[in-house]
């Protein structure tokens, strides 16, 4: 059951990613992105990380996707304004290079079987130790308190940057 679900999720996410990068209209691409983020959230759930799955939906679905949709609306490109795309040869060679990258990565993974070969370790039943909000929160406020603070710095910097670049009048 678990395997079937994984395969299904993998197929859906790969398909949506492929559609994303091939759709001409960015609006369709954004919709594909939504599907991809959703399947990723489900995969996180399968990986016993409910908190992160929730965050995935909130951050990606709520923030990132919305940003993209707003921008698409702001630009308001008509289909005829989309412009031309790269030539077929360029796309083909890009595809080949990307495929080679995937093969290399898979190669690296498969040749490290002694480490990655097995299935995931069993988590003690009923415990919320691994992927729960408590356990992640504990990490955030203990060992990773500095990164957590730095995230806030990062977001302030990003907001400042975004404002200064886009505000009409300063």
């Amino acid at each position: 059951m678990s395997d079937v679900m994984f395969v299904a999720l993998a197929v859906v996410s790969t398909a949506s990613a492929l559609l994303l990068v091939t759709r001409r209209n960015p609006l369709y691409a954004a919709l594909c992105m939504m599907v991809l983020f959703g399947t990723t959230a489900l995969l996180f759930l399968k990986l016993s990380a409910p908190f992160l799955a929730a965050m995935q939906v909130l951050v990606y679905g709520g923030a990132v996707l919305m940003l993209f949709l707003f921008t698409i609306m702001l630009l308001n490109l008509h289909p005829e304004e989309l412009g031309s795309e790269k030539g077929l040869t360029f796309k083909l060679s890009a595809g080949i290079l990307s495929a080679v990258l995937a093969i290399f990565l898979i190669y690296a993974v498969k040749f490290s079987r002694d480490m990655t070969g097995g299935s995931f370790p069993e988590l003690p039943a009923g415990s919320a130790a691994f992927g729960s909000a408590e356990s992640v929160g504990e990490g955030i406020f203990d060992a990773f308190v500095l990164p957590f603070e730095l995230v806030s710095v990062l977001i302030v910097a990003a907001v400042a940057g975004a404002i200064v670049l886009t505000k009409k009048k300063l």
């Binding site: 790969t14 994303l20 990068v21 960015p26 990986l47 940003l67 990307s98 995937a102 990565l105 898979i106």
Partner: protein
């Protein structure tokens, strides 16, 4: 099927698809989305490693996933802001139009 390396393979494939999107597309919005796909793929890899190392090394993997999400959001914000500034000056969202400087 649901093993560590298959999760990683899925992540690698998604990553490569994102790479393809960045390279082969001219629409800046799609390029930005492809970058999000790459980051998403990385998150998947982190999550599967975190699940595998559930009993060692603390929660570093999951924290990383969280941080990558924040970074992705920040990058999207700045990236779209740059895109908007570009669009205002040029009236286009075509990456290949950004070709004033070369050689």
């Amino acid at each position: 099927m649901f093993t560590v390396d298959n999760c990683l393979v899925l992540s690698a494939v998604l990553f490569a698809i994102g790479v393809f999107g960045v390279i082969a597309r001219r629409n800046l919005l799609v390029i930005l989305m492809s970058i999000e796909v790459m980051l998403n793929a990385v998150n998947l890899a982190f999550m599967s490693f975190a699940r595998q190392h559930a009993f060692e090394g603390g929660n570093a993997g999951q924290i990383f996933v969280l941080i990558v999400m924040a970074v992705a959001a920040a990058e999207a914000a700045v990236g779209l802001a740059i895109l908007l500034a570009f669009f205002r000056n040029r009236q286009t969202a075509d990456a290949d139009e950004a070709n004033l400087m070369k050689n």
